[in-house]
């Protein structure tokens, strides 16, 4: 069995990525990403820029979009809606986790 050592890199370290990089890592075609941008699911840093750059957060969103589109056979509108709802769930879970962390542990 081969053993390789490798340095793990933060996904968040890619501060901004291009459309082609986003397509490369997410597995979505550029026109599919374009649909998600049109639906507002992905937002470039500067929509008026000649060449779009995306915040690293879009990497996670695009990969989730790719899975949802493939596994649920959703079109871009369906994916955009699912992403928005998942984002809301994530925000609420984050809020609950924050509240739980700052509450005394009553099990003791």
């Amino acid at each position: 069995m081969r053993i390789v050592s490798v340095e793990a890199a933060w996904v968040e370290q890619y501060r901004e990525i291009s459309l082609s990089e986003l397509a490369d890592v997410s597995g979505l075609a550029e026109d599919e990403l374009q649909h998600l941008i049109d639906c507002g699911a992905l937002q470039p840093v500067d929509p008026d820029a000649r060449e779009w750059r995306f915040p690293s957060e879009c990497l996670r969103l695009a990969r989730t979009a790719s899975r949802l589109a493939r596994d649920f056979e959703l079109d871009a509108n369906g994916v955009a809606l699912a992403l928005a709802l998942l984002d809301r769930v994530r925000d609420l879970e984050e809020e609950i986790a924050q509240l739980r962390a700052s509450m005394p542990d009553l099990r003791r």
């Binding site: 069995m1 081969r2 053993i3 390789v4 050592s5 490798v6 340095e7 793990a8 890199a9 933060w10 996904v11 968040e12 370290q13 490369d24 890592v25 597995g27 996670r60 990969r63 989730t64 899975r67 949802l68 596994d71 649920f72 998942l86 986790a97 924050q98 739980r100 962390a101 700052s102 509450m103 005394p104 542990d105 003791r108």
Partner: protein, 320 residues
């Protein structure tokens, strides 16, 4: 090779039509999809469901699968010998010599139909390797100091005959300090192998932190319950408080109340870009489980001499 009963996994009859299979798949996908479900073991269950659907939704793959016959799930079986040749083993292997060891049924079916359609090993266009995501649980100490994890993976690789086999890999991944719950790390090129010049896939690690007996992490901040005796809270005190980097003395201001947070700047988890989160000590007023007669006497004296009314606001509030 181990048999997988795709019909049983989806819970459909072997005679089910494509529409029925699709309906059941969608129901199970909503239940177990890792982006949607919080059920324990959902990801593994979804992989099974997804693999079953990939085969049964495709008439050619389904026919090939049905041709295998029926076995018990997990039962060892041998695919038809010509399947090895179809995968690209060529004439160099006799029927009895081709090994299906380490070959996954899903890979075999995908390769078989892909090759018949002109894909597979004979295809010349670049195909990127598959990306993989795996959950990784680390301790707070590992997150704070960075760590090296040994990951055991079974990655699909094509052997010289074009057959996709699950090859065990050990990857030692160095995790930089500063990880916290929900963060993701990328190991570039450590996913599935690309073909015909396609890039190798990536391996993504989804970090979760193992529960700690004292500290509750939130982002890079940590929360700690700080029990104080009533007299420590009233009079103030200096108490020893544990942090990830050792014990520190913390001055408790007189008149501290339960629920108040005392912030210990920079005593949280390190951040990847530099700096540290904070540690919040949450004041709790603790009472002894049992009191001695002397303590009871002192509490009695306090009760008789103190004008403090913790419910003074009740009367005012009730009138509004």
């Amino acid at each position: 090779m181990k048999y997988k009963d795709y019909y049983k996994i989806l819970g459909v009859e072997r005679t089910a039509d494509a529409a029925a299979i699709k309906k059941v798949y969608r129901k199970l996908a909503r239940k177990y999809h890792p982006d949607v479900s919080k059920e324990a073991g959902a990801e593994e269950k979804f992989k099974e469901v997804s693999e079953a659907y990939e085969t049964l939704k495709d008439p050619e793959k389904r026919a090939a699968y049905d041709q295998l016959g029926r076995y018990q799930p997990g039962q060892e079986f041998r695919p038809p010998p010509d399947w090895g040749r179809d995968q690209g083993a060529g004439g160099g292997f006799g029927d009895g010599q081709f090994s299906f060891d380490d070959v996954d049924l899903a890979d075999l079916l995908a390769g078989l139909t892909g090759r018949r359609r002109g894909g597979g090993r004979g295809a010349s266009f670049p195909m990127p390797g598959e990306d993989f995501e795996i959950p990784v649980k680390i301790t707070l100490a590992q997150a704070a100091g960075g760590t090296e994890l040994e990951l055991q993976l079974q990655l699909p690789e094509r052997d010289p005959n074009g057959m996709v086999r699950r090859v065990p890999h050990t990857i030692k991944a160095r995790i930089p300090k500063g990880a916290t719950d929900g963060q993701r790390l990328r190991l570039p090129g450590k996913g599935g192998k690309g073909m015909n010049g396609g890039r190798d896939g990536d391996l993504f690690l989804n970090i979760t932190l193992a529960p700690h007996p004292l500290f509750r992490p939130r982002g890079h901040d940590l929360y700690l319950d700080l029990p104080l005796a009533p007299w420590e809270a009233v009079l103030g005190a200096t108490v020893q408080v544990p942090t990830l980097s050792g014990t520190v003395s913390l001055k408790i201001p007189a008149g501290s109340r339960g629920g108040q947070q005392l912030r210990l700047g920079g005593k949280g988890l390190p951040k990847p870009g530099g700096g540290e989160g904070d540690l919040y000590a949450m004041v709790q007023i603790a009472l002894p489980a049992e009191v001695s007669s002397r303590e009871r006497e002192l509490f009695q004296q306090l009760a008789e001499s103190s004008p403090f009314d913790p419910r003074g606001h009740f009367a005012q509030g009730a009138q509004k």
